[in-house]
Amino acid sequence: MGDSEYAIRVDGLRMRYGTREVLAGVTFDVPRGETLVMLGPNGAGKTTTIEILEGFRMRSAGAVSVLGVDPARADETWRATIGIVTQSWRDHAKWQVSEFLAYQGSYYTPFASPSTPRPWPIGDLLEAVGLTDHAKTPIGRLSGGQRRRLDVAVGLVGRPDLVLMDEPTVGFDPEARAEFHRIIHAVTERWQTTVLLTTHDLDEAEKLADRVVILAGGTIIADGTPHELARQIAGEDEVRWTVNGTPHTRSTPDSTGFVRELFRHHGDAIGDLEVRRASLEDTYLALVRDAETPRFEPIGRTAA
């Protein structure tokens, strides 16, 4: 693939604050149209990475290209193609929802092209994020979940080619979370928008991600589809079934093949079949534990 087929290319990215190294050589690519979820414990460097991609933070070393441009030297035309959702917005509390979206959208009008009309029509956008009934509500009076949906809407109003979201679902109840997932799916399908988002929620990563990277201790410690990652570490699915009422359990790397064989041998005698996939959570916890353990070992102890 050429450069134009990647929305993001990061190679050997380093970030140092004084003597503390937050990013120690991060490398990953995001092809256009992909949804990449970045997982990692607190302090792993997720926010720092996203802020470097946003062009809001200068890196110490490494090569970064976002939509073909180095964000450290990007201009307003580039800015118009990026949508940003950060962790804590409280701005424009007195503005009405639709008024604010229309205002934000007005900045994108000069960046429209026949193939990419900008901004996203406000009525459609409100409907997409489920805020049509709150179009006239002052932003300060929205609930937490509604407020976050508005933030997502503002991130999308310019019809960006790439959306960068830093923990967009923090504080969501399960319903709001499901709604958010629906919005992201709709946007990525409709516009082929590339999405990079960070989260702590493994279930969320599994639902949204085409691909997952895990950042721990300042480096990428895993990179793959959720299923690949789960396989890579936890390895095996668990299959439970009964034959004539007697329960059985077996772990297998190939659950589909195993079940096929099972039916060939026992046919109608099989009951209560249950396949539990190796979960991303198992992988994640195992990987992060491995990556973090040596870092917390006090240096002096081995000598004593």
Binding site: E51, E54, F56, R79, Q87, Y103, P110
Partner: protein
């Protein structure tokens, strides 16, 4: 392309103006100009060097409210940095430019509203003003220069203060400055060295300029050198305006460069710790 920033900024300025002057916010907006008007009404018939104090103070207070544009700018910049408004602008193409246009429109219009609240009832209740065509012209150019100078300076200080608490502190020196700028009594009553300090800053010149625009010609006898000193007024306000316009983009750019999501979050935590 720049016209988008202008148009969008104008839009933001007017929307926020409407917010400032409706509902409960209106009371806060009316308080200071009305309180000032009441104070002037009480001292209207006192005399200074044979002249009624009321007509002398009313235009001076108008000048003072033009200078308040600086404080409004400082406070809004600090508040907007804390709640993420500025970061939002930064994440938007030409958003910072639009934001600044919006602030200028909003603060200028707010100052204009203050002037109307002071002048319309003031002219009727206190009297003694002389309103002529040349007077309006004088008022217009001094007001324009004053709005640019004070807000450019406000943007510089607003970019430099660390928090909205720091922004509140900037009103202390401004109040001190008002005391030595001949707003509530003629500057000539002060010792010479205080007069000299007062004449460095815009407040004195805005007061003088407004008196020259709104008072009859013979009121000039109370002033330093018995002159309205329009040339000096233009020179001092112009110098502050140019200095502000040179410095503001530099410090604003430095401030905007440092904004990021984690910074806004960090400030928010600090704020909560202070409140909690």
């Amino acid at each position: 392309m720049t016209t988008t920033a202008l148009r969008s900024g104008f839009r933001a300025g007017l929307i926020e103006l409407r917010q400032n002057f409706t509902g409960a916010a209106l009371i806060g907006q009316l308080f200071w100009p009305v309180a000032t008007l009441v104070a002037i009404w009480f001292l209207r018939d006192m005399t200074v060097a044979g002249a009624r104090l009321g007509p002398l103070v009313l235009p001076s207070a108008v000048g003072m409210f033009i200078a308040f544009g600086m404080l409004l700018t400082v406070q809004q910049l600090a508040a907007d940095r804390e709640d993420g408004t500025l970061l939002r602008a930064k994440a938007t193409p030409r958003g910072i430019r639009g934001y600044l246009v919006g602030k200028f429109v909003n603060v200028s219009a707010t100052v204009l509203a203050y002037l109307l609240i002071l002048l319309v009832p003031g002219a009727l209740l206190i009297g003694g003003l002389s309103i002529t065509a040349t007077g309006w012209l004088t008022l217009a150019w001094i007001l324009a220069l004053g709005l640019i100078a004070t807000q450019a300076l406000g943007a510089v200080f607003g970019a430099l203060v660390r928090s909205s608490r720091g922004a509140g502190m900037t009103s202390v020196p401004v109040i001190g400055l008002i005391a030595i700028s001949g707003i509530f009594y003629p500057i000539t009553a002060l010792p010479g060295w205080l007069q000299a300090i007062g004449q460095i800053f815009p407040v004195y010149w805005l007061g003088l300029g407004m008196r020259s625009a709104l008072l009859p010609a013979d009121a000039v006898t109370v002033e330093i050198g018995e002159s309205w000193r329009h040339l000096d007024t233009a020179a001092v306000l112009g110098t502050w305006a140019v200095a502000g316009l040179i410095l503001a983009p530099i410090v604003l750019r430095r401030m905007a460069r440092k904004e990021s999501g984690s910074r806004v979050a960090q400030r928010r935590e600090q704020l909560q710790q202070r409140v909690g």
